[in-house]
Amino acid sequence: MSGFFKSSIGRKYAMALSAFFLMFFLLQHFAINILSVFSPDAFNEASHFMGTFWAVQYLLQPILIFGVIYHFVMGFYLEIKNKNARVVKYAKNNGAANSSWMSRNMIYSGLAILAFLVLHFIDFWLPELNTKYIQGNMSGLLADGESFRYYEELVHKFVNPIRVIAYVIAFVFLSLHLMHGFSSAFQSAGVTSMRKEKLQIFGKAYAIIIPLGFIFIAIYHHFNH
């Protein structure tokens, strides 16, 4: 089995596996964020649960961190390896004739997502780690000690229009990444093309609706704080 993950195809499986996890995570993240539009209380409850439940904090979170790092490190590694598989480039190459722009530029859409993740890390994750593990405040409450802080923090972040614009751009790239990535991950995992047409439609829907939803949330809070 160790030979398997060193083979080109084994790496495809691993890449697809990390991508599946990321897509599942994204869906879950969206499901919680969208609550903030309908019910601040429900959003607070869900955030507090995710932020303090041990299985999420000590099981899913490490898997997520590993998954993200594996995914983009492997993405870069494969990109470089694949570039090196053609030493002399074509003088004229018509890639648009046979493949989608999204499929040919996964590394660039991926880079844009990575840039966003750095911003996201600084914006939400670092303050969160600071509050919970450095200051040791696991209560999830505001300074008044009465109500939860999560909703307040979220809305506060989207006051700045520049941040909102950065979020929108990042999610457009995420959409482009998933336009190809969703069905690609299934193909890598060996899912047959008989089921592929429905899968394609479902994948495109996921790739549009989820990022669009995140964009909506950012803009909604920007105008309703």
């Binding site: 083979s7 030493v87 003088a91 493949s99 093309s193």
Partner: protein, 246 residues
């Protein structure tokens, strides 16, 4: 038609090579692309120049030799054809046509448009066969019942002519469509089961060794393949490799 051709000229495997411009005149739209190349070569020979070396054999789309990257696509702009089946009616009078060899580290250029596709042969040798006792008591192949569906799919995979257009078109120079087809052609049939585990492992290992890139499912290969080999074969190869580890 009068055409301008930009062709990759390279003296031998060690030389650097460059694009060179040529003009051809009075090309009939009924000619095949290779016949147009013949006209050019005759012209070159008559004027004492070195003709353009290119691979070809059957000139009817079955040998897979005629590798050319024409205007940025393997076998040119038409679909489901090899270069020998590409007609000049696909082009217009006054066009400039770029002609390059199939490019991949695993397909080194030998001269002009001729590349060494020996890597494909070595992948085949690694497992693209079944072992049959031919000492006189060979079983009749038809004594094994095979479903029509499996037979059709195996036949579709077996139509791969090993031309290398998939590798040439792939932005990653991946050989997975070729290897996927060769693995599938046996994986779908009862005769292929005995050696199935070793076959897929060895063929994939050889493919990796030859320096082909890794598939990212762009699907360019499927579009440019003259035989319409489907991506489904890559998915099947992936499943076969996974299965071979249990």
């Amino acid at each position: 038609m009068n055409l301008t051709l930009k062709i990759w000229r390279q003296k031998d495997a060690q030389s650097k090579g460059k694009m060179v411009d040529y003009k051809v005149t009075e090309i009939s739209e009924h000619m095949s692309f290779l016949e147009m190349m013949d006209v050019l070569n005759e012209q070159l020979i008559n004027s004492g120049e070195e003709p353009v070396a290119f691979d070809h054999d059957c000139r009817e789309g079955i040998c897979g030799m005629c590798s050319m990257y024409i205007n940025g696509e393997a076998h040119g702009p038409d679909r489901g054809v090899t270069t020998c089946q590409l007609h000049m009616r696909m082009f217009k009078d006054g066009d400039t046509i770029t002609i390059e060899p199939f490019r991949a580290k695993a397909f080194p250029v030998l001269k002009d448009l001729v590349v060494d596709r020996g890597a494909f042969d070595r992948i085949q040798h690694a497992g693209g066969y079944i072992s049959v006792n031919t000492s006189g008591n060979t079983q009749d192949a038809n004594s094994l019942p095979i479903s029509k569906h499996a037979a059709d799919e195996a036949m579709d995979a077996a139509t791969c002519i090993g031309c290398g257009a998939c590798v040439a078109s792939c932005k990653n120079s991946s050989a997975m469509l070729f290897v996927g087809a060769k693995v599938s052609q046996y994986a779908l049939l009862p005769q292929g089961q005995v050696e199935a585990t070793d076959r897929v492992r060895n063929m994939v290992a050889q493919m990796d060794l030859e320096g082909f890139g890794n598939c990212t499912n762009t699907g360019a290969c499927e579009v440019e393949c003259p035989k319409g080999i489907s991506l489904e074969n890559i998915a099947r190869m992936n499943r076969e490799l996974l299965k071979s580890n249990f």
